[in-house]
């Protein structure tokens, strides 16, 4: 059936591609899902034109009922590119898929004109065209979601790096202001960047400030203690500061033992203690503290 089927589809695509393109564009420009705020008309025209051309060349050798075949590779690549750019432009998945699905209307209209009264052939060809475009549309959605996921992943990574700065407060005193929840993955990043900075700066004291940590449960406390232990192994003492009253209560209720670690209510207090411990002196030019 497939060798027979698709003949009309191939024929109309090669003979009246321009007309289909014109009808398709007209429909797209009139449609409610047109987002002229996100995308220029010229770009849409170009994308539609290339899609039809690639569809024709894919159909020349490929089977329209199986758009997963190798003949469709080029078209799939193109669709993936379209999805990616639309995900970045801020289109919704439905709007992106509609771009492919909207091809059905002009295509079916052509088929009807071509096959006329041959109801049997018309039904066959329409079915073929439907399954082909459905396959391509679903592929577009998949590609769209994939590129969205990769955008989210990248943002997560950036956020992770942004949220764990290690700052040097004084000679051999580091501060690590933690903001947001501490999970095990973040603890790894925090630990690593803290330890690396300790090596770089030769710091003797690190102040971990948890003012920005919304809740402390046993897991978070355990992560904190791990970081403290690792810093100690490198030869640096840790002070935990910024413990809010509620958090102090929770820590005690949970039975977390922080007696091994110096804890302070505020970063200022912790800094004062650190200065005293390192016997820091104000440098002669007070502003140029290193």
């Amino acid at each position: 059936m497939s060798s027979l089927g698709g003949q009309a589809l191939r024929k109309i695509l090669s003979q009246s591609q321009q007309d289909i393109l014109a009808e398709w564009l007209q429909a797209q420009l009139k449609s409610a899902t047109l987002r002229s705020d996100l995308m220029k008309e010229g770009e849409l025209r170009e994308q539609s034109r290339v899609l039809l051309r690639l569809l024709e060349s894919a159909l020349a050798s490929g089977d329209p009922s199986r758009p997963q075949g190798p003949e469709w590779e080029e078209l799939r690549q193109f669709l993936a590119g379209v999805s990616r750019s639309r995900a970045q432009q801020g289109f919704s998945p439905a709007e992106t898929a509609t771009f492919v699905f909207s091809l059905k209307e002009p295509l079916f209209a052509r088929l009807r004109r071509e096959l006329g009264r041959d109801a049997q052939a018309l039904a066959d060809e329409t079915w073929l065209a439907t399954s082909m475009i459905d396959g391509l549309g679903l592929f577009t959605i998949e590609a769209f979601i994939k590129s969205r996921e990769s955008i989210i992943e990248r943002q997560q990574q950036e956020l992770l790096e942004l949220s764990t700065p290690v700052v040097q407060l004084w000679e051999s005193i580091l501060a690590l202001p933690l903001i947001g929840t501490l999970d095990s993955e973040r603890t790894q990043v925090v630990m690593q960047s803290l330890l690396e900075r300790i090596v770089q700066t030769g710091a003797a004291i690190a102040i971990i400030d948890i003012t920005g940590v919304p809740t402390v449960d046993t897991l978070v406390a355990q992560h904190l203690l791990k970081t403290v232990a690792a810093a100690r192994l490198m030869g640096a003492d840790c002070i935990i500061s910024g413990i809010r009253p509620q958090i102090a209560q929770t820590i005690v209720h949970l039975g977390v033992d922080l007696s091994e670690v110096t804890t302070k209510a505020s970063l200022a207090d912790a800094f004062a203690i650190a200065l005293r411990r390192t016997q820091a002196r104000l440098p002669s030019g007070a502003a140029s503290a290193s």
Partner: protein, 121 residues
């Protein structure tokens, strides 16, 4: 038993620099040699430099704290210096935070730490 970890005497202290991959036999050998030397030269402190050590396991971790305990029994303080970040993270993940072992960032600071410890004793 061809390879051995050298133990250098510096005044009242002993300096051990671990430059090769530690394996279990080598660690046991070091334990034995070090305790002997502490008694022999009446050392008051031991510095173990592990800045070249890239891989640790729980055995090496336990050996480090064992050496510290043995040295303490022989009236010598032990300071482990120069631990790499990756090694520190590994030890913590293994649940070994080497309680009772003093640490310092490098040999210089370790030496200073030993001196202040001895002065206050």
């Amino acid at each position: 038993m061809s390879e051995k970890i050298p133990i250098l005497k510096m005044g009242q202290f002993l300096l051990v620099t671990i430059q090769v991959d530690m394996h279990d036999q080598l660690a046991l050998q070091l334990q034995e040699d070090l305790t002997e030397r502490i008694v022999q030269v009446h050392a008051r402190g031991v510095l173990i430099d592990i800045s070249a050590l890239e891989i640790v396991d729980s055995f090496i971790g336990r050996m480090l704290s064992n050496i510290a305990s043995m040295a303490r029994v022989l009236d010598a303080e032990t300071v482990v210096v120069g631990m790499r970040p990756a090694v520190a993270i590994t030890l913590v993940e293994l649940g070994m935070s080497l309680e009772g072992v003093s640490t310092a960032l490098d040999v210089d600071r370790g030496m200073a730490l030993l001196r202040t410890r001895l002065a206050t004793r």
